[in-house]
Symmetry: C2
Subunit: 192 residues, 2 copies
């Protein structure tokens, strides 16, 4: 019988390792080493590294829920919530010294031709994230704070893509400037 | 004495392989197989896969020069050139069935923590690309076709990041919709 706590340790170490090193640069041994577990234990809990990666995307979404809660803070006006949310997302990247970037973007770049099952999960995570952002944009549009000539969904997707690209550039330069630029242009031209 | 033609074959096969499969999923043998060359020949021409990847970024920029020439077509107004350029970039991604994405974005996502030398080359390539796009945005700003409340450099970088993110999403979904959305929002809200 697999112990649930070891599975959780492997998942947590797996997420951290895959996020930092990427999928193909991480071996199962890297993950078991990071979890302080014997290599053989891995396959008691996950059929393959690919199966763990699918679970890691789910776990990553869970971890990001705290940030997403900002979007639901009814004490703030919707546009203010959107700004605070993206400021917090940027701040998290700065604190991490741009070492990891966004797991969804990383997997999209690395695995789109390699793993349909991871791709599908990443696609679902992007769609869910867009829906969460779009809901607040729609609120702001109803309040007249954001122009309505694009749908809330279109604006949410554009903004998330712009953030993903800014994160890639921040990561490659180890520099927050692309993330700061994202905020400035987004809130004066897109969410406006 | 290494034959220059074999070096070129290895570089071309290396670029194609690294672009399609990513850096860590491509072995030196994958590259020599794709070049139809014996595995041992690789190290007569490149010290390592990393050295080849640096050269591959340079070669990639060369290949993209045909598209960049659109930006210099003085027969078209600057804003028209920008649109035609990004339409052509999108079309190339559609023709490739989203199988590869952008080499710069892929390497940024996969290698930022792994290879300082590839990162530096990718950073230079992004900067060069931004300069090329910014020059045309500046022309359009002088002609009054694009608002001047952001610098041409800031707008160029934002737009390139937005495209990179849209490409990631198009790649993961195998769907042109994110690229079409990029064009629509960019040319009505950013380059406007």
């Amino acid at each position: 019988m697999p112990r649930p706590s070891l599975r959780e340790q492997l998942l947590s170490a797996g997420l951290e390792t895959l996020h930092r090193k990427g999928f193909n640069a991480s071996s199962v041994q890297d993950i078991t080493d990071a979890a302080g577990a014997p290599k053989g234990s891995f396959y008691n809990h996950f059929e393959s590294k690919e199966v763990l990666a699918v679970e890691a995307v789910r776990e990553y979404q869970e971890q990001k829920r705290v940030l997403l809660d900002i979007l639901r803070d009814q004490k703030l006006a919707p546009l203010r919530r959107l700004r605070k949310y993206f400021e917090s997302v940027n701040q998290a990247a700065v604190v991490a010294k741009f070492s990891t970037g966004c797991l969804l973007g990383n997997f999209a770049a690395e695995l789109s031709s390699q793993s349909p099952v991871i791709c599908e999960r990443v696609g679902e995570a992007f769609a869910r994230w867009s829906d969460d952002v779009a809901a607040v944009i729609a609120e702001a549009q109803r309040a007249g704070a954001i122009s309505r000539n694009f749908s809330s969904k279109a604006l949410a997707e554009f903004v998330i893509h712009a953030w993903e690209g800014a994160m890639l550039r921040a990561k490659v330069q180890k520099d927050r400037a692309p993330l700061d630029l994202f905020l400035k242009v987004t809130f004066s031209r897109i969410l406006a």
